[in-house]
């Protein structure tokens, strides 16, 4: 574990009544990054986040958050973190301001400082016009923003986001991503769980794919996608059969198949570097090319590759 790690997890295991939810995972999160746990429901994401936030007791392994051991100094860990829960965990009958005030008082933020920070946070998430509105009257996106504002009120070193955009419409989700990026740019480390591929891909500095209680692979989104090395080039040519013959035996080409979209060429290396040579070769054989298309692997492809199945996009 390095100097700059704000979360250090070693051999974490957790069992519920004989069901092993987390099977010995180790990972670390660097100060200042956005780190994602990507995996399907029941993979162990929530269990892990609950242990990291001291809501579940540590059974086996060691977990340090913001320099404190969750088992020995849960109080210190609690002071250093902020949490945005998965569902809208808001008291329906409190107003926006009361929700923030309650939270600030729970963390003993002195009155003047509390007032200042609440005003500031409500401005950041654009809810200051709604401060006297009861939370039950807020839209889904506003509720989530209020939760983020609440989670940040205590100026945490790490913000935990459990499925931050679940149940939000695409537009609100993009706004949410912007907020998360802003929060991170302001210096807060973000640990989030998600089962949305593109969310992990768009936001994270690093991702761990988790399934059946194990971390299957970790890396930056680029690394994960590049290790697949399965870029696909689609070529539409004047003579597909002849072009196929021409391409046979080129080093990086794994397979060439004819498909409705033209020739589908699977490449075992970085496709953007191979593409010019493929085009040259086909042109060189006197075949016209009417369109070229390069498809990079998506997080979906990565997930399918490592887990052997599709990530079902279902509710929590």
């Amino acid at each position: 574990m390095g100097e700059g790690d704000i979360i250090e997890v070693q051999d974490l295991e957790h069992t519920f009544n004989g069901f092993v939810a987390v099977r010995g995972i180790s990972f670390s999160v660097r100060r200042g990054e956005i780190f994602s746990f990507l995996g399907p429901n029941g993979a162990g994401k929530s269990t892990t986040i609950n242990i990291l936030t001291t809501l579940l007791p540590l059974q086996a392994g060691t977990v340090r958050v913001a320099g404190h051991d969750v088992a020995r100094e849960p109080g210190r860990v609690r002071e250093a973190i902020g949490i945005v829960f998965q569902d809208d965990v808001l008291d329906r009958d409190l107003t926006v301001w009361e929700t923030m005030e309650f939270h600030g008082r729970l963390y003993s933020i002195p009155r003047d400082e509390r007032k200042k920070r609440i005003d500031e946070m409500l401005r950041v998430v654009e809810l200051d016009a709604k401060r006297n509105e009861r939370t039950k009257n807020l839209s889904g996106g506003m509720k989530r923003r209020l939760q983020i504002a609440r989670g940040l009120l205590t100026r945490p070193e790490v913000l935990f986001l459990d499925e931050p955009t679940q149940g939000l419409d695409p537009q609100t989700r993009m706004r949410m991503w912007d907020y998360i990026r802003e929060v991170n740019a302001a210096g807060t480390t973000v640990f989030m769980t998600t089962h949305y591929m593109e969310e992990a891909d768009m936001l994270s500095d690093r991702i761990s794919i988790i399934d059946h209680g194990r971390i299957i692979v970790s890396g930056t989104p680029e690394e994960l996608k590049n290790t697949l090395g399965e870029d696909v080039v689609y070529l539409e040519t004047g003579d597909d059969a002849k072009a196929r013959e021409t391409l046979r035996g080129v080093g990086e080409i794994r397979s060439v198949t004819e498909s409705p979209r033209g020739l589908s060429i699977t490449i075992s290396a970085d496709g953007s570097h191979c593409l010019p040579r493929i085009v040259e070769r086909v042109r060189g054989a006197g075949i016209d090319i009417s369109s070229v298309n390069l498809k990079k692997p998506t997080m979906d492809d990565v997930f399918v590759y490592y887990t052997g199945r599709e990530l079902r996009d279902e509710g929590a």
């Binding site: 929530s46 609950n50 936030t53 001291t54 809501l55 579940l56 007791p57 109080g75 609690r78 002071e79 973190i81 949490i83 829960f85 569902d87 965990v89 808001l90 008291d91 009958d93 409190l94 009361e98 309650f102 939270h103 008082r105 729970l106 963390y107 003993s108």
Partner: protein, 297 residues
């Protein structure tokens, strides 16, 4: 809050512990907002005791007064009419019901996920139950005040011939009894709420408990005429001690009601109060244990 283990030089830790020590007021504040905001809950909790007095009290008192008017009142003892006698019982009953249900907000907090916010905060966990219990106690105080004022209108004669100073002391005494009693049952209710999954379960347990607690007590009638077993049981019933305390402060140490003579010595009253304090302490320890072990995700 376990400050004894804090090293003398570690000011930061100590400072933090001191700051956190009043956080239960935050929970109290939120509970009171909810109380005022849930109009139906507020209204019903204020109306219910008044309705008991207005219907049960008035109806029963005309009957009881007819039955017992034939019994001669011993010389030198103040006779107390039934409505006045049972007003103390209604105070006790209302406190019992309100307190037994008081923990239900914890159950909702737990089921709606709101408790995670508190459990993941640096606030000591015992403060959750302290805040909820103190707000429950406040609600009981408000109800008791309403019963006393409404009773006055209906013809309840509390504090017969008392001086203003004695009335003030008596009101304080009544509130002290109500306070300790309600804390005990609120902590009990909090404990069950933390251990249960559903509001229906809590409802069931409360219903099961209220009937024996209410009827095996001196709230509505004297226990002097109970069969020996019930009489013995009623002595251990906290409600009996609350009613005794309220009657002592509201009616004086010697009075005659529903065909029975009542006489309390200050020692009796202290003993009753002590019993309630012990009850509340045991409930506190039970609740603390439950909260410290509670895992809510």
């Amino acid at each position: 809050m376990s400050s004894s283990t804090t090293p003398a030089g570690n000011c930061a830790t100590r400072e933090r512990e001191q700051k956190v020590a009043w956080e239960f007021l935050t929970v109290y504040w939120r509970e009171m907002i909810r109380f005022v905001r849930f109009r139906t809950q507020l209204l019903s909790s204020l109306l219910q005791p008044a309705l008991w007095m207005a219907f049960f009290g008035v109806a029963m008192s005309s009957n009881f007064n007819r039955f017992t008017s034939a019994i001669p009142v011993p010389a030198g003892v103040i006779p107390v009419d039934y409505l006045t006698f049972m007003a103390a019982g209604v105070i006790a009953m209302t406190t019992l019901f309100t307190s037994l249900f008081g923990g239900i907000s914890l159950l909702f907090d737990k089921n709606w996920g709101l408790m995670r916010e508190m459990l993941a905060s640096p606030m000591p966990r015992t403060h959750i139950m302290l805040g909820v219990s103190l707000s429950g106690m406040t609600k009981s105080f408000i109800q008791v005040a309403i019963i006393m004022v409404f009773g006055l209108i209906l013809g309840v004669r509390f504090f017969p011939g008392f001086s203003p100073a004695r009335i003030a002391v008596s009101i304080l005494g009544i509130f002290a009894f109500v306070g300790v009693f309600s804390l005990g049952f609120l902590l009990f209710s909090s404990t069950i709420s933390m251990r249960l999954e559903s509001p229906e379960g809590l409802q069931g347990i409360i219903t099961l408990l209220t009937l024996p607690l209410f009827f095996v007590s001196n709230a509505l009638y004297p226990i002097q005429a109970f069969p020996p077993l019930l009489q013995a049981l009623s002595i251990y019933n906290p409600l009996t001690h609350l009613v005794s305390g309220v009657r002592y402060f509201a009616l004086g140490s010697e009075f005659f009601a529903v065909g029975a003579s009542y006489s309390f010595t200050p020692a009796d009253v202290l003993l009753s109060f002590g019993y309630l304090v012990v009850f509340a302490t045991v409930m506190y320890l039970l609740a603390r244990r439950t909260f410290q072990k509670a895992v809510v995700t």
